[in-house]
Symmetry: C2
Subunit: 192 residues, 2 copies
């Protein structure tokens, strides 16, 4: 059986974003984990406008090509890590907008959260996201990454240097995503 | 003294949105209340792209003209009602995006929430918004509007027809916004 596809979704989209370094580290950790075929999905490149579909996404009747393209991307994933900053004590609009565009494409797939920030480590954004993910039938995993004072971990070359504790959190999250993506897969292919 | 400026912010932006009827009713109720100069601020017309300023908004160093225009709009308000739908158990990206673009423009101003939806009446969106509003030093008021099964209240002419209970909720919210906007005003003009 092919390895599950894990998409690392980059939730920061500003041109001058620093958080891309965190996402690249998560991507690298996922590749080294070995349990997945890993894709980096950069919402800055996906470049969705603010949601403007006429029909509820659960119907899958998308009228915009950008939504159809986004649907095709997410459909091929078996698991996700959403890498998110925290804006004003919650998730940024870019992350919610990407989620809101689709529905069944997310369902019955596990999702881990990698948040970063200052003293909060972005955890208020992660906490705010969980009910949203559940509403779309995703399965948030309890293991996650939360990086406090993240800019201090980015070296002069722009590379995120994790502590041992953060590296351990990444492994635990990836193990759980692998376990659940395998278990949930039959639900999505009619084999359950 | 001039009446305080109340902005009714329309949080739904889809071309085929139904929720605009709720916002127009709130606007009308605010005009009839008599305590405010009322502006309808339609985020579909404001048409902000996903946040992409290089500096934190608290610095006010905006590089995009759309952000400067939005800053000028919000700066003239003394109070707000945010009229919001609920997408996937939380607020839509359009609302968060509009909030995230600015910072001091929101501060020390009261804000009421008018949410609408199905059985939830959009209350999960309103609940998720409150910590965001507080983080920006806004003052959310406890009186609010929550419309369950809102589409049932829109007549054939597209006009929202409130129940007596909803009309009463609007009045209570507007009274509290008036009370707080008056009290908070000196904080913003250096007269405190």
């Amino acid at each position: 059986m092919a390895r599950p596809v894990l998409q690392v979704i980059v939730g920061t989209t500003r041109q001058q974003r620093k958080g891309i370094a965190v996402a690249r580290w998560v991507e690298q950790a996922a590749r080294e984990h070995g349990g997945f075929d890993v894709e980096l999905v950069d919402l800055a490149e996906v470049a969705l406008p603010i949601f403007d579909e006429p029909n509820h996404p659960r119907l899958g009747q998308y009228v915009h090509q950008h939504t159809r393209d986004w649907s095709a991307t997410v459909s091929r994933a078996d698991a996700f890590v959403v890498v998110t900053p925290e804006y004003n004590h919650s998730f940024p609009a870019a992350v919610k907008n990407a989620l809101d565009h689709l529905f069944v494409e997310w369902a019955d797939k596990p999702v881990g959260l990698a948040s970063y920030g200052g003293v909060s480590a972005g955890q208020r954004a992660a906490t705010a996201l969980k009910p949203v993910l559940v509403s779309m039938r995703m399965v948030p995993v309890v293991e996650g990454i939360a990086v406090p004072f993240f800019a201090q971990h980015i070296d002069e070359g722009g590379v995120f240097q994790p502590t041992d504790q953060l590296a351990g959190s990444a492994t635990a999250m990836l193990d759980e995503l692998q376990r659940l993506s395998t278990a949930l897969r039959p639900l999505r292919t009619g084999q359950a």
